[in-house]
Amino acid sequence: MGGVTLLRNKFGKLAISTLAGAMLMAAAACGGSSDSGSSTASPGASGEASQSGSLKVGLAFDVGGRGDKSFNDSAYAGLERAQKELGAEIRDLSPAGDGSNRGELLRQLADAGYNPIVAVGFAYAADVEKVAKEYTDVQFAIVDSASNGPNVTGLLFAEQQGSYLAGVAAALKSKTGHLGFVGGVESDLIKKFEAGFLAGAKATKPDIKIDSKYLTPDGDFSGFKAPDKGKIAAEKMFQDGADIVYHAAGDSGQGVFQAAAAAGEGKWAIGVDADQALTVKDQALSKVIMTSMLKRVDNAVFEYIKAFQGGAKGGSDVVYDLKTEGVGLATTGDHISDIQDKLDEAKQKIISGEITVPDKP
């Protein structure tokens, strides 16, 4: 009997290694297919580009790809603006579901003569570093990660500053003096959101209570794709008396909105990255979204392309903060218009340097 179980275990190990190997192949195949799907945008663009010079901009999406109504779409908006205003020829590629072919996408773009190439998402860090070394005459930009090569520009955001404003808004709007924060993955990036939110709320109301919960530990990115878990975590916060919960949890935010809607009148959620009151199409959910902490990836991408055209070279980071309108709060629904003056005041204090927002909780 033990032999059978042993055999089974061996099968398991074999299965895992086969799985890993086969996934790589499948991923490569998927990359090809998504490429052909999205390159339909190119022909029209190339016509324009041939007239206005040879600015060819490639963009590789984060897992989720185009149409995620958030991060990636925002990056694409910046790319489209570059196409319109700068006459750039553009091309975008989406990685496979597990994101294993990121390096492949970058090489594909570089081989096709695209320069600069924008990689969306911190998950590209290792691949950009490697590929940038192979193509030293191509300029790369990576969103949400620091520069890691002489021809790489890091496009960073001061998420903590935007989150600080979200914290101020939540503290001013809360009737129970109790807030919540749901983070998708306990990574340094998401901790910046928490740190800013905590600082903003505490600065506004020192005795405010804030519950924080991360869905998965660092490295396990399923926390961005687990709405059911986001719902459980937020449900608990609302049950304990919190009336506003801020999320930085990607797709898991859907669960936070559901929990807010189910908790009844006077319970709110704060969205993230995009203006989620607009992008969440479900009426029941979008009406509980008080505001969203915007991350203007579109501005960052456009400004980078513009700077590249002006001759800027990589090797350094550009931080998009409140001053440069890189982050901010959405006003859809007019839920925070009554406290706008106080938010502006906080914003001015951060811009002038009177308040320094911590980036670690």
Partner: protein, 431 residues
């Protein structure tokens, strides 16, 4: 003749005794849990919210495990459950946003069953190694669904207007939920009882309320599938034939069972159940999100092995995992309470072993070592509970895995898989 009846009688008696033992064990666990809840002041250990979360987290795992059970009892190893579950989620999302929850249910079932059918064609008809085929389906599931999303949900389509993206479907209509009147809705007697925080009474009320308030109709169906599976597999002629294919297909063949057909049916049902697990995930989220299964198919398979290839056992395994996961998501402070709970359990075990050692026949070195280790463990856990104020997040996250591993390591000594599980069967080739 008389000998036979006597042996049947004792078998019957033994079964009754085991059944009673399980009931007594569950009752004792609840009492211990209530005690810990009071001592550790961790309301969430027995709150309705935790049990509600546990139910929601356990069901997809349990359904995947049930799928695994059907296939493996018929001798087909099914590690493709994850892929079939992914198919279930996608089809449920796609049909659900257009034609409502019922269509989502049917489409998800069919999507999963399709995966099962593929597995059956590969393993039963073509005799492909079960692991290879399962791995292929695990790759195929996410691949196909991604492809379908890119075709049907791409920018500019009607679905995209309705809120779809490459990784998500549009939102589904809400799935009806039911509550038990008076007890958990309306008057909400259980809720009143729970909020009094009396020892035992409030705890039981919390558990019952969590399991009976606003329950998704699919959850009821899923729970009903456990006894139904037990009945079909162990109390019908079809079930006997199915299990005989898993134990010794050649013997089954010699008795006239159509082994190929039976394995086909079992594997397709297996895929359908995994797909149903996917449908449940979509119903909870009200939309399809790529990657939302996040390995639950594999955990379901583990729950089935945990449960010794039995429906009751796998339900227990899924519930344990769901409970621990729900607890860690709600309150890390309550997780620390589990230290005390563990200490209590070990103490009980030590006392039991010590009493056993009191009789001369059992006075062996092994018993004494067991007593010593259990007592030591209890002290260590108690010390941890007293000193650890807030558990580091890293430990909180792994609670469900650690807890399941611990129980498994204690309970897994007598696991027995179906004898011809994973064995390639060819008609007429007696081994």
């Amino acid at each position: 003749m008389s000998v036979q009846t006597v042996s049947e009688g004792t078998a019957e008696a033994r079964r009754v005794r085991r059944y009673h033992l399980v009931l007594i064990g569950v009752a004792l666990l609840i009492v211990a849990l209530s005690l810990v809840r009071v001592l550790a002041d961790a309301t969430d250990l027995t709150s309705s919210g935790t049990f509600r979360a546990a139910l929601g987290l356990a069901i997809p795992i349990g359904l995947a495990g049930l799928g695994g059970l059907w296939a493996e009892r018929a001798g087909v190893v099914n590690i493709g459950l994850e892929g079939m579950m992914v198919l279930g989620t996608w089809f449920a999302g796609w049909a659900g946003y257009q034609w409502g929850p019922l269509a989502a249910l049917v489409a998800g079932l069919l999507g999963g069953a399709l995966g099962g059918l593929l597995h059956a064609v590969a393993t039963v008809t073509f005799g492909v190694d079960h692991i290879i085929s399962g791995v292929a389906i695990n790759l195929l599931g996410p691949g196909i669904t991604r492809f379908l999303s890119e075709v049907l949900y791409r920018e500019g389509t009607a679905a995209s207007e309705a809120g779809a993206g490459i990784t998500t479907s549009p939102t589904l209509a809400e799935v009806p939920t039911v509550s038990v009147p008076l007890l958990s809705s309306g008057q909400d007697w259980l809720g009143d009882l729970e909020s009094t925080h009396w020892f035992l009474l409030s705890d039981v009320a919390g558990m019952l309320r969590g399991l009976t308030r606003d329950v998704n109709v699919l959850a009821i169906l899923a729970v009903a599938l456990i006894p139904l599976t037990y009945y079909v597999l162990w109390h019908t002629a079809f079930g006997l034939r199915l299990r005989s294919c898993g134990e010794n297909p050649w013997a089954a063949e010699s008795l006239g069972v159509n082994v190929y057909r039976t394995k086909y049916i079992a594997t397709v049902i297996s895929g359908a159940f995994a797909g149903l697990g996917g449908v449940f995930l979509v119903f909870v989220t009200q939309k399809y999100v790529e990657g939302q299964t996040s390995g639950r198919g594999f955990i379901g398979l583990a729950a089935m092995i945990f449960g010794n290839w039995r429906p009751g056992g796998l339900a227990a395994g899924a519930s344990l995992f769901g409970y621990a996961d729900g607890l860690q998501l709600r309150s890390s402070q309550a997780v620390t309470g589990l230290f005390l709970f563990g200490a209590l359990l070990l103490l009980g075990y030590a006392i039991m072993q010590a009493r056993k050692a009191a009789t001369a026949a059992n006075r062996t070195a092994g018993t004494y070592t067991a007593v010593a280790f259990a007592a030591l463990g209890a002290v260590a856990l108690l010390w941890l509970w007293l000193t650890v104020d807030t558990l580091p997040n890293e430990f909180v996250f792994i609670t469900p895995h650690v807890l399941t591993l611990l129980v498994l390591s204690v309970a897994s000594q007598r696991l027995r898989m179906p004898k011809a599980d994973g064995v390639r069967y060819r008609r007429g080739e007696q081994h």
